[in-house]
Amino acid sequence: MASLSTVKPAGRFRFRRPSPQVLREWLQGYFFASPFLIGFIVFIAFPMAYSIVLAFQKWDLLTPPQFVGFKNFQRMFFTDKDAWLSLYNSAYYTLFAVPIQLVISFILAMALTQKIRFRDFYRAGFYLPIIVPLVAWAIVWQRVLHPENGILNQFLEVFGIAPKAWLFDPPLAKPAFVFMSLWMIGRQMVIFIAGLGNIPDSLLEAASLDGCGPWGRMRNVILPLMTPLIFFNMIMAVINSFQSFIPAKIMTDGGPEKATLFAVLKIYNEGFQWFNMGYASALAWELFIIVVGLTLVAFWSQRLWVHYEA
């Protein structure tokens, strides 16, 4: 029955009244998919359309909304320096955190697919930090990075490095966030490990017979075969980094001197601290377009470096 209805009408499309059986399956299909169809309209499509309207309004939720034309966008692009700053902060964080995360998780995955002992223990250990709820993780790291009592400074002292103020020092706050994000690579590592396990031994052996050393196998076999997963990890990491909220909200609340005022924190502050619903929507659209744009560019760039064959 299911196989019958997959047969497409030959030639030009002609409307034929579907048989009762086929019609029944259509209705069943819509019925079972209805949670998503309804949910998509109510919780995604309609809110998105509504937020376009909001972006042209000034509304504090107390007084009636006012249409203000392009004022929110004017403010976002020309008068509110913090809007640019928050995008810069998020871009900085993403630009440094994502490549370092990818390199370290890849190296770790390589190490954990060698014939070392207790591999499962190591994998669980590297994975554990992302099991810890992010809120708990943030309050711990706030103290790890504490100038006087934090263990990071205590550790650096062993090597004679003077204590740093980390989250209280504007130039160091973002690097500290990048550093902290390196503990969050467990998921990427697991994906790389799964991918490395799927590389056929025959290909590696063939490369060895052709005279490839470990480095040659890496460059000519492993890396090309892993590019789809590198691409995937990269794109998810970029999307997530741009939307990072919890650490900045809890550890610094955007400080010191707005050095960790990231894009989502800025949107949150405008919308839910100061109740500028219209302006927050405009900011959200800006971030949305940036992230979607980056995603599209990344997808386009696949043809240049991602190998999907074999």
Binding site: G29, F43, I44, S51, A124, I131, V135, M236, I250
Partner: protein, 305 residues
């Protein structure tokens, strides 16, 4: 014979390479061990400090297991804030959100995997697209929409604000597309013959889903449930926006608030104790269901948050 010498030479080379390989493995083992300890230090520091007094935490030399464990740190957390209430609230939100996620995702996934209907491929593409969308875009409008939806006095509220509804109801509508995708992939791998036989026997679609497909899909159901529990357990932004009164807060909000009010009497050991309280249940879940974590991530690469 003339051929002996090169073979011997080759053997020496081979042995040397083997030895080199073994040395390399030992070096690697040491490096990885050092690194995994580094990775675990913040966590161990949290758990260990939750059992110390402040002066011990601030002492320059780190002691993993304190001589005199301060169990009362945990009790003090419950004294300063109604953490028992937070735990119950969190359990309610997680229960209803996860239940809705599993049920609605399974339904939708079945439709996408096994039924033919016009527009199916288009909507599946839409589902994939929403997985990639920065969902932050809906944060503000959703708040305004939920503010205008009636709650009929549920949790003492006339609209959805300050109730658990915004945190649970959307997930009864396949609110996390990733899980639909995961289940759909799994359903497609199941043999079609079972279903066709049941159809011929006159079974309805609901019976096929609940009595044939789902019992065969325990691994993917477990994976989705585990990820979904983790996701809702630690959700912070939405509870922060929607839950204004203290007695409705979830654990995540409570701990963040305890942390922010450190100057008003919550000391480091109490914050660490609160963090430990929140972490231990998920750690337990991880130890029990580790298989499903790894499976799920390998399948999709998402998971968790």
């Amino acid at each position: 014979m003339a051929t002996v010498a090169p073979t011997q030479h080759y053997n020496i080379l081979k042995r040397r390479r083997k030895l080199l390989g073994q040395v390399w493995l030992v070096v690697l083992q040491i490096l990885v061990t050092a690194l995994v300890i580094t990775f675990l230090v913040p966590f161990l520091w949290m758990v260990s400090s939750s059992l110390k007094v402040s002066t011990e935490i601030f002492a320059p030399n780190f002691v993993l297991i304190p001589d005199d464990p301060q169990w009362q740190n945990f009790a003090r957390v419950f004294d300063v804030m109604p953490f028992d209430k937070f735990i119950i609230n969190t359990l309610i939100v997680v229960l209803f959100a996860v239940l809705g996620t599993v049920i609605s995702s399974a339904m939708v996934a079945y439709s996408f995997a096994r039924l033919n209907w016009p527009g199916r491929d288009f909507f599946f593409g839409l589902l994939l697209a929403t997985m990639m969308l920065p969902i932050i875009i809906t944060l503000v409008p959703r708040f305004i929409i939920f503010r205008s939806l009636p709650a009929f006095g549920l949790q003492g509220s006339s609209n959805w604000i300050n109730t658990f509804l915004p945190l649970t109801v959307p997930f009864w509508f396949a609110g996390t597309p990733l899980y639909v995708f995961l289940m759909r992939q799994f359903f497609r791998g199941l043999p079609m013959e079972l279903e066709e036989a049941a159809l011929i026997d006159g079974a309805g679609r609901i019976r096929i889903l609940t009595q044939i497909i789902l019992p065969l899909s325990k691994p993917v159901l477990a994976t989705v449930a585990v990820f979904s529990i983790l996701q809702h357990y630690q959700e912070y932004l939405e509870p922060l926006i929607y839950l204004s009164s203290l007695n409705k807060w979830t654990l995540a909000i409570g701990i963040a608030s305890l942390n922010a009010n450190e100057s008003f009497g919550a000391s480091w050991e109490m914050v660490f104790a609160a963090g430990t309280i929140m972490t231990l249940p998920v750690l337990l879940l991880f130890l029990i269901a580790q298989r499903y974590f790894v499976q799920g991530i390998a399948m999709t690469g998402f998971g968790g948050r």
